[in-house]
C-alpha cells in the first residue's frame, strides 16, 4: 500500500491517520478535513467552552508541526465530493485523489428543525465555530430555549443555568433520551434539570420559531409560545454519507460495514459516527455517535487496513459516553434496549446512582450519575458478556477498594 486517504479530520480520522504511522505505514498519507479549522476535540465544546472555564482555542488537538513530523498531508476546507471505486479515487474539490487504502470518517451533522427559518439567535452545536457562537450569545444574558433534551441540549442548558440564565428545555418525546437511555432513566435525567431550576416540557412539538430577523419566541404546536433570545437546537445527528451516494457502497443510516469495519470494497474502511456495523458484543448492527467509539474505531480500522483481508479483526465496542451537567458526571456504557432496568446502588433523586440494563440473561448496559468507579466496573462486565445475575451479585453493594490520593 503506497497511498492512503483519510476523509474526515475529526477524532476518528485523526486517530486513524496517526495509528497508520505508528504501525509503521510509510507511504503517502492524506487527511482531508471539510472545515478550515485545524483538527479539534468536540467533547469540551458543549462543556467547558460554554461554562467559560476553557478557552475555545484549547480544543485544538494538534498543530501543523505535528503533521509535518508525521509526514501527513492535511487538506483543510476541502470537500470530498464523490468516491469512484473502479478507479479507486476520491474526488476532493474537483480533483481526483487516488488511493490504495481509504478510510471514511466523515462523521455526522446536526439535524435541524423543519421550522428553522434563518433567524439570528438560532444555533446548533457541533463545530468549534458553533461553540464560539453559542458562547458569545450566552455572554449577552439571553433567555434560553433548548430544543431537544439530549446530552448536547442538557449540557448547554446546564452551562446557561450556571451563568444564572433563564432556561427552558423542550422535548418532543414523552421523556428525554428515550432512545439513548430508555424511558425510566430518561425521566431521571429530566429530574436533574428540574432540580436545577430548568423546566423540561415533554411532548412539546415545535411549530415555528418566530421573530423579525432575530428569534423572539418558540411557538409550540398547541399554540403556546415561549420567549427566547437564544435557541439551541439539539435534536440529534445524521451520518454524513451523502457524498458516497452512487459509489456502490451500501448506505443505510451510515456506511454499512462488516464486523472488521470494511465498507465492502478492498482496502476501504470506515470509522466513527458514519459507520453502521455488526457489533458482536451485543449481536446487533448499530451506529454509535460517541467520541470514545470514534477513537477506538479509528485505530481499529487503521490496523485492519494494514493487516489485509486475512488479518482483519472484528471490532467490538461498548458504546461508552459521558456527559457533564451541573457539575455532575453522567456515564453510560452498553445498549439501552433491554428487558429491565435495575437500580443497584445510590438514589435517583440524589443524582448519585448506578443502574443496570438487562438484555435476556446478560448485563447489556449501565448508567451512572456520580458513580464513576461503579460504572467502570459495570462497563468491564458488559465487555466480558457477563451473565445478569453474576453481574448483579458483583455490583450490588460492592465495597470500594482502599485508595490513596496523590497530593
Amino acid at each position: 500500500m503506497k497511498r492512503v486517504v483519510v476523509v474526515g479530520a475529526g477524532i476518528a480520522g485523526l486517530r486513524a491517520a496517526e495509528a497508520l504511522r505508528s504501525a509503521g505505514y510509510d507511504g503517502r498519507l492524506t487527511l482531508v478535513g471539510a472545515e478550515e479549522e485545524e483538527p479539534y476535540d468536540r467533547p469540551p465544546l458543549s462543556k467547558e467552552v460554554l461554562t467559560g472555564t476553557r478557552a475555545p482555542e484549547l480544543a485544538y488537538l494538534r498543530d501543523r508541526a505535528h503533521f509535518v513530523q508525521l509526514d501527513i498531508d492535511v487538506l483543510l476546507g476541502a470537500t470530498a465530493e464523490s468516491l469512484d471505486l473502479s478507479r479507486r479515487s476520491v474526488t476532493v474539490d474537483g480533483s481526483a485523489l487516488p488511493f490504495d487504502g481509504l478510510l471514511i470518517a466523515t462523521g455526522s451533522a446536526p439535524r435541524t428543525l423543519p421550522a428553522a427559518e434563518r433567524l439570528e439567535g438560532v444555533h446548533v452545536l457541533r463545530s468549534l465555530a458553533d461553540a464560539r457562537a453559542v458562547r458569545a450569545a450566552l455572554e449577552g444574558s439571553p433567555r434560553v430555549v433548548i430544543v431537544g433534551a439530549g446530552f448536547i441540549g442538557g449540557e448547554v442548558a446546564a452551562a446557561a443555568r450556571g451563568r444564572g440564565l433563564e432556561v427552558t428545555i423542550l422535548e418532543a418525546q414523552a421523556a428525554p433520551l428515550v432512545r439513548v437511555l430508555g424511558e425510566q432513566m430518561g425521566a431521571a435525567c429530566a429530574g436533574l434539570h428540574r432540580d436545577h431550576g430548568v423546566p423540561v416540557i415533554t411532548g412539546a412539538a415545535v411549530a415555528a420559531l418566530e421573530g423579525d430577523g432575530r428569534v423572539e419566541r418558540v411557538r409550540l404546536a398547541d399554540g403556546s409560545a415561549i420567549d427566547a433570545d437564544l435557541v439551541v437546537v439539539g435534536i440529534g445527528v445524521a451520518p454524513e454519507v451523502g457524498w458516497l451516494a452512487g459509489s456502490g457502497l451500501t448506505l443505510d443510516d451510515g456506511v454499512l460495514c462488516d464486523a472488521g469495519l470494511n465498507a465492502g470494497a478492498p482496502g476501504v474502511f470506515a470509522a466513527g459516527d458514519a459507520v453502521r456495523w455488526p457489533n458482536r458484543l451485543f449481536g446487533v448492527t448499530m451506529r454509535c455517535e460517541q467520541w470514545t467509539n470514534a477513537v477506538e474505531q479509528g485505530r481499529h480500522a487503521a490496523a485492519n487496513m494494514l493487516a489485509g483481508p486475512d488479518g482483519a479483526a472484528p471490532f467490538a465496542g461498548s458504546n461508552y459516553f459521558w456527559s457533564d451537567q451541573y457539575g455532575i458526571r453522567i456515564q453510560f456504557a452498553g445498549i439501552p434496549s433491554s428487558d429491565s432496568v435495575q437500580l443497584v446502588s445510590g438514589d435517583l433523586g440524589e443524582h448519585r446512582f448506578l443502574a443496570l440494563y438487562r438484555g435476556g440473561e446478560r448485563l447489556v448496559g449501565a448508567l451512572a450519575m456520580r458513580a464513576p468507579r461503579e460504572l467502570t466496573r459495570a462497563k468491564l462486565l458488559i465487555e466480558r458478556g457477563t451473565a445478569w445475575h453474576a453481574a448483579l451479585a458483583e455490583l450490588a453493594g460492592a465495597e470500594a477498594p482502599a485508595r490513596v490520593a496523590l497530593p
Partner: protein, 68 residues
Amino acid sequence: MPAHVKVDWDRCVGSGMCLSIAPSVFDLDDDGNMLLLHGDGLAADEVDPVRDAVACCPAEALELLEEQ
C-alpha cells in the same frame, strides 16, 4: 530507578480504560477524577499493564516514564 506513570490531568475524561487494564495502579474518585493508587514507582509486573493502558487511553492522558 523504577518506571513511573505520568498523568495529564487536564486530558483525563474518566473513561476508566486504565482501571480495567491496570487495576493495581489506577482508580477513580467519586467525582470521576482518576487517582494513582501509588505514585512512587511501578512494580516490575505493573510496567507491561501500564504500557497497555497508555496505548489504550482514548484521551491520551497517560505517559510511561522508564528510566534507563
